[in-house]
Amino acid sequence: MFGSLSFALFPVMIFGIAFMGSFLIPLVQGTLPSGTLTLLIHVSYLMLGIMVGGFGLLGNEVMNHRFGQSSLLTYSARSLPLSEKFIFLNFVIKDTVYYFFLWVFPFGFGYIIASPFIGVPLLSTLYLLLTLTLSFLFGLCSVFFLSVIYVRSRMVLWIILLVLCACTGLFVIMTGKSPVLIFPPILLSNAFTWVNFMISCGILTLLFIIAIMLFNPESVGSEKKYRDSFSPLMQHFSYLPDPPLTAKDILDLYRSKSLIGQTIFSFLLPLIVIWFFLSLLTPVFPPYGLLFIFAVTTGVIASTMYTWVTMFDSFGPYSCLPVAVSTLITGKLTTFAILQVIPAIFIATVAVLSGEVAFLFPAVVLGISISFYAVSVMARLCGLSPNLLVYDVRVLFIYLICIGIVLVIFTTVSFADPYYALSAVILAIPTWILIKRARVKWDSVDPGGF
């Protein structure tokens, strides 16, 4: 499962964080009630499931790039008595098990081991591991299901989402409660019953089975023709440093259907869920605090758009062209910069809808500055392989420290005064330095390693 010790230590690190973090619970309970803390942890694992669950978007081409050498497996349906759905099912199960042992189990196990020392009953820690697993699976199965629907029919997806929104709205109006309180893992963590547990498992199984049945493998040998969109796009981006690279990236995102799919499943959906959960913490924040902590969160999630543009190719396809790795990194970051229109509009929309129009500009500046800073850290640490290298313990540790410090500083600053959030523009300096260092660092790495 792990190619090297650095990657094998990743779950150990998660275990360590959970174990040591457990000792802080009595201290944190002074500020945050334990119910809120439990909610936050469940939200985190729901988010993890949501962000890894977009399996429906994985066409064979993306699987080829994502799984590298194992493309032999993805295409083995052509030569072996195996259906493409069966192979795909195995990939989904593999990924689910992989992320469970990478994130969910180490965290739960760390808390279980710490429980005797912090006076928490063992049974409740076992329940927590169970409900965290369910949270993760709910996120994964829901997005898996929705992403498969999206690939099949966008109209049906919009209808389903509209119905979900309508039902959520009705629930809020009729009960006055937040819909997150009926989220099954939360219900189970508050009061475990076997009936609720079986219903939860039933919902998950149903979503999973329907998604597998509806999954549509890419048609092979399609000769659909496309007019030349590259030239006009390149003209459009002629003012940028590397117009052909940016034009190619945009076409990759658009024609693979990843642009809209990733925007919905890796950006909008997680942030909508986060908004609902964060809104429960409103009493803990200053009056405008929710908007700014949401802007910070959006910035961090927006930075993962860098993985959208790097997932299509590594350096290999460019190795026969006069392109340096540093040029490619700059090209990917340029495309990333264009994509930041999405989080900017999103933060602005949230500011308007939440009645905080006065703070729209500082919130957008904060979110986008955080996003650019986070991506510069990612580029410096991971180059063109963020999806892979972020699971190196050393890399993740440095990433968390670099991001964590900045998040704490600017969240505190914006809580002190919303217009102080504008000071986030100062992040442009470390961002620029880190990108410069990323270019030097990854140019010195043997390109044959990509």
Partner: protein
């Protein structure tokens, strides 16, 4: 004749495996040079080192007078490369990919050039199809095109005829022969010895990373030998030692 490729004590090690071991080689301008060897002999690694796609563990390599280790991008600017495995970007059409290459290489008049190549290799009907939907043979035609569209002084090709049908193989062989007649150089790596004998002027034999022999095809023919027989006897002799 000046040397367009000079390799001195070149080695590449992957962990415990020595993929290329102390190779010394020179290729002169105007040659159609073949690097021959069985599977796993280090041919692809050699080509990757010559084009800066991977760094040598030790040794020196210059291509067209440029130190490859110091300036690999400059080398790739001057040469054309057809790698063994890499394929064009999945979500560009064949025509878009050539325009992409033209933009990166700053090639003028790409429309006329790409039209010529689409007709020459007979894949004009595929120019608006996404690269991921092209057959292997058509992708190889496209990769061949991108390597020669800027008319480089030196082209490095890993397995030049792979995936081509017999008609295209003939076209390509004639094109390569004509290309060197114009004073340019071609360096191919292949394990198909009959092709090497047919089109190469010079050759080198690589086995388990070591250079066993360099020579000219004409010299072999003068001695009444055939390249495939010569290769097999040499490799067997080394393997039995």
């Amino acid at each position: 004749m000046r040397a367009v490729i000079e390799v001195k004590d070149l080695s590449k090690t992957y962990g415990d495996v020595k993929a290329v071991d102390q190779v010394n080689l020179q290729v002169e301008e105007g040659a159609l040079f073949g690097l021959l060897g069985p599977n796993g002999s280090g041919k692809t690694t050699m080509i990757k080192m010559l084009t800066g796609q991977t760094r040598p563990t030790s040794g020196l390599v210059t291509v067209l007078g440029i130190d490859v280790i110091r300036d690999p991008v400059m080398v790739r600017e001057q040469v054309g490369i057809i790698p063994e495995q890499e394929t064009p970007p999945s979500f560009l059409t064949a025509l878009e990919y050539l325009k992409f290459v033209a933009a990166v290489r700053k090639i003028p008049d790409i429309k006329a050039k790409s039209d010529w190549w689409f007709d020459f290799l007979d894949f004009a009907d595929k120019k608006n199809v996404l690269c991921k939907d092209l057959s292997r043979g058509t992708r190889q035609k496209l990769m061949f095109t991108q390597a020669f569209i800027h008319e480089p002084a030196l082209a490095l090709i890993d397995e030049p005829l792979i995936n081509f049908d017999p008609i295209t193989q003939n076209l390509v062989k004639d094109y390569l022969a004509e290309y060197v007649r114009k004073g340019r150089t071609i360096f191919i790596s292949t394990h198909i010895l009959e092709v090497a004998e047919e089109i190469c002027s010079g050759f080198a034999i690589l086995h388990t990373g070591k250079l066993l022999h360099t020579g000219s095809v004409a010299e072999l023919i003068r001695r009444g030998e055939h390249l495939p027989d010569f290769f097999l006897s040499l490799v067997r002799k080394v393997s039995n030692v």
